[in-house]
C-alpha cells in the first residue's frame, strides 16, 4: 500500500484501480473537473486522454492496460503514471481488488 500514503512513491501501474465511488467527474474542454464528496476537494485533469484513462480504470485489469486502451505510447507513460499517483494521493482514484 505504498501508493496511498507516501507522496513521491512510485505508482503501481500493474494493479487494478478505480475512480473513487464518491468522486464526480465533469468533462471540460481542457480535460475534466473532479470533485470528491468525501474529502470535499477539487482536482483537475488537464488532458482529455487522462480523462479517458481515469474513466476506463474500473474496467481494466491494470492502470497500464487502461493507458494502453487510451492510446498512450510508452514514452507518454511516465507522465501519466505521475498524474495517476497524484490522483491516488488525493484519493480521487483508489486501489481495486482484482476480480
Amino acid at each position: 500500500m505504498l501508493i496511498e500514503t507516501q507522496a513521491g512513491a512510485a505508482f503501481d501501474l500493474d494493479r487494478p484501480w478505480q475512480l473513487h465511488p464518491q468522486v464526480s467527474v465533469r468533462p471540460e474542454r481542457f480535460g475534466a473537473l473532479l470533485y470528491h464528496f468525501g474529502t470535499r476537494r477539487l482536482s483537475f485533469l488537464k488532458s482529455p486522454a487522462l480523462l479517458t484513462v481515469v474513466r476506463s480504470l474500473g474496467d481494466a485489469p491494470s492502470a497500464r492496460e487502461a493507458c494502453r486502451r487510451a492510446g498512450l505510447t510508452q514514452a507518454e507513460l511516465p507522465a501519466y503514471a505521475a498524474a495517476l499517483r497524484t490522483l491516488a494521493t488525493s484519493q480521487m482514484i483508489s486501489p481495486r481488488e482484482p476480480a
Binding site: 471540460e28 464528496f37 477539487l42 485533469l45 488532458s47 507522465a79 501519466y80 497524484t86 490522483l87 480521487m92
Partner: protein, 394 residues
Amino acid sequence: MTQRGSPPALVEQFQYGLDAPICLTWELTYACNLSCVHCLSSSGRRDPRELTTAECRAVIDELERMQVFYVNIGGGEPTVRPDFWDLVDYATSHHVGVKFSTNGVKISPEIARRLAASDYVDVQISLDGATAEVNDAVRGAGSYATALRAMRNLARAGFRGFKISVVVTRQNVGQLDDFQAIADRFGGQLRLTRLRPSGRGADVWDELHPTGGQQRQLYDWLLARGEQVLTGDSFFHLAAYGDPLPGLNLCGAGRVVCLIDPVGDVYACPFAIHESFLAGNVRGPGGFAAVWRESELFARLRRPQTGGACRSCSAYDSCRGGCMAAKFFTGLPLDGPDPECVKGHGEHALAAVAGAPVPRPFGDHSHRNRPVPVTIGRRPDRACDENPLAGFRP
C-alpha cells in the same frame, strides 16, 4: 497533469469561463437573526419576492443538469427558512453537494446528528473573533456563544472537519493562532476570508480592513500553513508578496463562480451585489443556465483583461489586479490596483479618487428598527443609536 502539474495553462482556461460554474454561492434569504456590521448582503429582513420552495427546487434541478458539484448556501441566515432542511435534502439527493454558512443559531444537538450522518453536507460556522469581545463587536451580542454552542454540538455528533469561517479584520488578525486552537478543539477546519467593502461592509471597511503590516503578517501565517487553512481563494491579491497561496489565484467572478441571490438575481460574485454586476434572473426564460451562458456581462468578464494601470507592475502576473468588488465599492477603476495592493499602489489610487462619489451597495435589507450593534468603527448617528450593551462583558 493534475492540479500541481502546470497551473498557468489551467488558469488561462478558467479566465475564459466554463460552461457551468465550478461552484456557486446561493443566498437563500435576506432574513437574519443577526445584524453583522460588515454583512456583504446587507441582510436582516426577508424580501417578499424570495424564491419559493418550488422555484428553489427548479434551480437545483438545473444545477444537477449542469453538473455543478456543490453550492455554497448562505444568506442572510439560511437556516431560518422553514424549508431549508428540505432543500438541503433535495439538493443532496440530486447530486448537488451543499456547504452552508450559518451563525449556528439552528444547530441543535439533533440537527448536528443529522448533519453528521450525511457525506454530502458541509457546515461553515461564522466567527469573527476568537473571543466574545472581538466577535460580538462585529456580529452582535451573544453571537460568539451561539457559534461555540453550534461547534460543540457538531463535535459531539461526530461531525469532523466542519469549517470555522473567519472574516479577517484589523481587530482579529492578531488572533489567528487562537482561531486555530478553537478549530483544533472542536475538530474543525479553519477558513479565513477577506473583508470586502460590500453591503454594510462599505460603511466599516475603512476601520476594519487590515493594515499593510497586518496583511504581511496574515500572508506569512497563511503561507506557513499551506493547505491546512482554507481561504476560498480570497487573498490572491497577497500573491504579489512572492509565492502564491494555495488555490487558483484568480478572480473567478462570472468565469467559474457567481451568486444567486434570494430573489433569483444572478450576480458575478457574492461580493458584487450591485446592478453593474447583475447578469440576469433565474426566473427569466432559460433559467440559470441561460444567464450563465448568455449574459453579456459574463461574456465581458471572460474576455482577456488589459491590466490597465497595473500592466507595468512586476507583480501583475501574481495578483492580476486583485478583487473587482473591492475596487468597485471603494470607487477605484476596475482596471487599476486593488485598494489593498501590497505594493502600496492602492493607497495612491484611493487618494486620487478621494472625495469622488463611490457606488453604493444595492438593495438594503437591514433591520429597520435595530441599530447595527457596533462598538468598533462606526460612530452612531445619535448617541442613543449605540447599542446599550456595547462594551458590556458578563
